[in-house]
Structure formats: structure tokens, C-alpha cells
């Protein structure tokens, strides 16, 4: 057993294992994710209003812009959008229950796992069907 010491300065001081990120309740991380998905959805809506407004410029301009969306990168964005909106919607219901249901605060963590569960159950087949066409076009055989 070594002697108790302060690590002498100049020697190799072990870096702290953890930074000063607060390791809060699961509820804190659900709130962080709620903020992030909310902001992402807002940016999507911003772009969506702009591209839809192009119909007022001319139908050709609208078609030209929509044509640029038909590529694998935008397909991945679509998956991300569905993931963000779905989480935001489900967790939004949880937050409303915490606010208005007298026992909501007691069951908040259980409700969070229900939210995550429903999200996974819907996202796993969802991702499959959303990416199926892109994957088969990019990597599929000629059949």
C-alpha cells in the first residue's frame, strides 16, 4: 500500500475521469433532447415554408427545387426529421402529463422509458421502409 500523498506538481497528474458535466436525472437528458429536436424541427419548418412558397413564384421553380431533394443525403435528413418529430411529440405528451396529471411527477421516469420504447418500436421498421428504396438503388443488384 502506497503512502498517502498529494501528487507532486510537475509529475504526471492523472486527468480527472469526468469533466464537470452535471450528471443529472434522466429527466434532464430528456429535456436536452426535447430542446434539440424542437430546434431541428423548427429549422425544417423554416426551410419547408420557403420551398413550399416557391409555388407562388412558379410551379417550375418549385419542381426544380423539389427535384434536388431526390438524393440519399436528403433521404437521411428525412429519417432524422421523423426521429426528431416523433421524439418531440411523444415526450411532449409526457411533459403535459407531468404538468397536469397529479401523479405525473411520480411516474415521470417510467413514462420516459415508455416514450423511448414507443420511439424504438416505430423507428426500427420506419428506418427500414424509409431507406429501403435508397439502399436498393445505391447498392442493390440489377434484378
Amino acid at each position: 500500500m502506497s503512502n498517502p500523498t498529494a501528487f507532486a506538481s510537475g509529475k504526471r497528474v492523472p486527468r480527472p475521469r469526468r469533466g464537470s458535466v452535471y450528471r443529472g436525472d434522466a429527466g434532464m437528458w430528456s429535456w436536452v433532447a426535447h430542446r434539440i429536436t424542437g430546434v431541428l424541427t423548427f429549422f425544417f419548418l423554416f426551410a419547408h415554408v420557403l420551398d413550399t412558397a416557391l409555388v407562388r413564384v412558379s410551379p417550375q421553380a418549385y419542381n426544380t427545387v423539389i427535384e434536388t431533394y431526390k438524393n440519399p443525403v436528403v433521404n437521411l435528413f428525412e429519417v432524422g426529421l421523423v426521429a426528431a418529430v416523433l421524439y418531440h411529440a411523444l415526450n411532449g405528451i409526457r411533459v403535459m402529463l407531468v404538468d397536469f396529471w397529479a401523479s405525473g411527477a411520480r411516474y415521470q421516469r417510467m413514462m420516459l422509458w415508455v416514450v423511448v420504447g414507443i420511439w424504438l418500436v416505430l423507428m426500427i421498421p420506419g428506418v427500414y421502409f424509409m431507406l429501403q428504396r435508397t439502399v436498393s438503388v445505391m447498392f442493390g443488384s440489377a434484378s
Partner: protein, 266 residues
């Protein structure tokens, strides 16, 4: 306890010379624990830094024993608050492995693992840092005082005592347990970024009187808490409930105050 046996003599000799005392014998069953402590001396340092110590500790020791060991035998300049050392006074709230805890209630056996015996100790967030693990608690107590945490009555005094049924007493039982350690308020992400927010502890102490059947100041307190920096700042992250060393359902209390405001019902 590793440090109880000959503390008094050691401290007495150390006090005279300013030098640490001789190391006490390491008890059987002690493990070597690496403690990373955030240090800050306002007279020397521009910013806080981390210093690490390797100390023997028994699994049944509390983290407070380890901080005492460091202060008494390794570095007497380590500064932290503690008074009762038994989880009642609420003066030693600190961030332990990234979570707000009372260091007198954290046992070493809950910190040590199979691979690495390490613990990180930092001051609580969101209050002005004074030195090492000591923060300025005055903004916290200002928020506490703002919610009028005392009995208010306007009607005629009863000739004998204020009578209260057990059911009425149970209504606010949970929030009577607060010891004002600030673990909840300084675990709140909203409080970190918005100093003006009254914070969970003030709302808990308002709840304690708002729902007291003997008290008649509920409307005033609800008015104060309905302010822009009152209960509506709460984003229900539940960090406060997780951090409370007294097990108070803090978020539940805040939500009850919100609902009392929304539905005008106490």
C-alpha cells in the same frame, strides 16, 4: 473511522506550526482512494484547477472523513463547509462525481469499484465561487427570503393553539423536511443560466406554507411565485428531486404550486 483516534492531538500540533500533522496509522481493510478536488484560491488563481490526492479510506467511511484527512494531514489550505457532519445541517452540499450530494452522507463503499477507486469533488454550480468548495450562499438565501417562509395570519388569534387535523398536516409534510443545503437549486439547469429564478428550494419552502391550513399568506406567495422568475421557469428536468438528500419530491411540490396557480385552488 480512519481519522478519529488521535485527531485532537494531531490538529493541536499542526495548528501551532502550520504544518500538517504526522500521518495516523492506516487501519486494516483500508483501500487507497484517488480524490480529484477542484481547487481555487481567489488570491492566487485566475481560474479553478483540479488537484488529486491519494488517501487511505475505509469502505464504511464517509467522503467527509476523506476531506478531513486531506485537510488535516496533507494540505491544510483545502477549504470546505461542514457543521454537524451527519446530514442534518445542510452545509456540505457539493458536486460528487458530477451529482449534488451531502459529502457527510456519501459512503466510500458506494464510490469504489472493481477497477478504479476514484472520486471527483467539485463545488455546487450556479452560485459565486469563493474558495475551493465554498460558494457564496447569499443569492440562494435571498430567493428563500423572497417567498416569505414564515407563518402569516390575518384573522383574530385563537384563544388557544391553531388546530390542525392530521390530514391537513400531511398535506405539506414532505416539504417540511428541507434543510436549505442548496443541492436542489444548484442542480437546476435553469438556475445555472438564470440567476433570477427563485429555484427549487425557495418553491419547496413556499409550498410548505401555501398548503398549511393555519397559514393565510398563500395568495401573496402564489403572487410572488407567478412572477416571470417564479415557478413557470421550471422545466421539470427532475434534477432537484434526484439531488435532494432528504428525499423531498421537489418537482412534485413545484408542480403542485403551478397547478394551484393555474386552477386558483389551494
Amino acid at each position: 473511522m480512519a481519522t478519529t483516534a488521535d485527531d485532537s492531538t494531531q490538529v493541536a500540533t499542526a495548528g501551532g506550526t502550520g504544518l500538517p500533522g504526522d500521518l495516523p496509522p492506516v487501519p486494516d481493510g483500508a483501500v487507497m482512494l484517488t480524490v480529484h478536488i477542484q481547487r481555487f484560491n481567489p488570491e492566487l488563481d485566475d481560474a479553478p484547477h483540479t488537484e488529486s490526492y491519494r488517501v487511505p479510506a475505509l469502505p464504511g467511511d464517509r467522503l467527509l472523513n476523506v476531506l478531513h484527512y486531506i485537510k488535516w494531514y496533507i494540505d491544510g489550505t483545502l477549504t470546505f463547509r461542514r457543521s454537524c457532519a451527519h446530514g442534518v445541517c445542510g452545509s456540505d452540499a457539493m458536486r460528487i462525481n458530477g451529482r449534488n450530494r451531502l459529502c457527510c452522507k456519501v459512503l466510500i463503499k458506494d464510490l469504489i469499484g472493481d477497477k478504479r477507486n476514484e472520486v471527483t469533488v467539485e463545488p455546487i454550480k450556479g452560485l459565486p465561487l469563493l474558495k475551493d468548495l465554498v460558494v457564496d450562499m447569499e443569492p440562494f438565501f435571498d430567493a428563500y427570503r423572497a417567498v416569505k417562509p414564515y407563518l402569516i395570519t390575518y384573522s383574530a388569534e385563537p384563544t388557544r393553539e391553531h388546530v390542525q387535523s392530521p390530514a391537513d398536516r400531511a398535506r405539506f409534510d414532505d416539504t417540511t423536511k428541507c434543510i436549505l443545503c442548496a443541492a436542489c437549486t444548484t442542480s437546476c439547469p435553469v438556475y445555472w443560466s438564470e440567476d433570477a429564478y427563485v429555484g427549487p428550494a425557495a418553491i419547496v419552502n413556499a409550498h410548505r406554507f401555501i398548503f398549511d391550513s393555519r397559514d393565510e399568506g398563500g395568495r401573496e406567495r402564489l403572487e410572488i411565485l407567478s412572477d416571470a422568475e417564479g415557478v413557470w421557469r421550471c422545466r421539470t428536468t427532475f434534477n432537484c428531486t434526484e439531488a435532494c438528500p432528504r428525499g423531498i419530491q421537489v418537482t412534485q411540490a413545484i408542480q403542485e404550486v403551478k397547478r394551484a396557480l393555474m386552477f386558483r385552488r389551494i
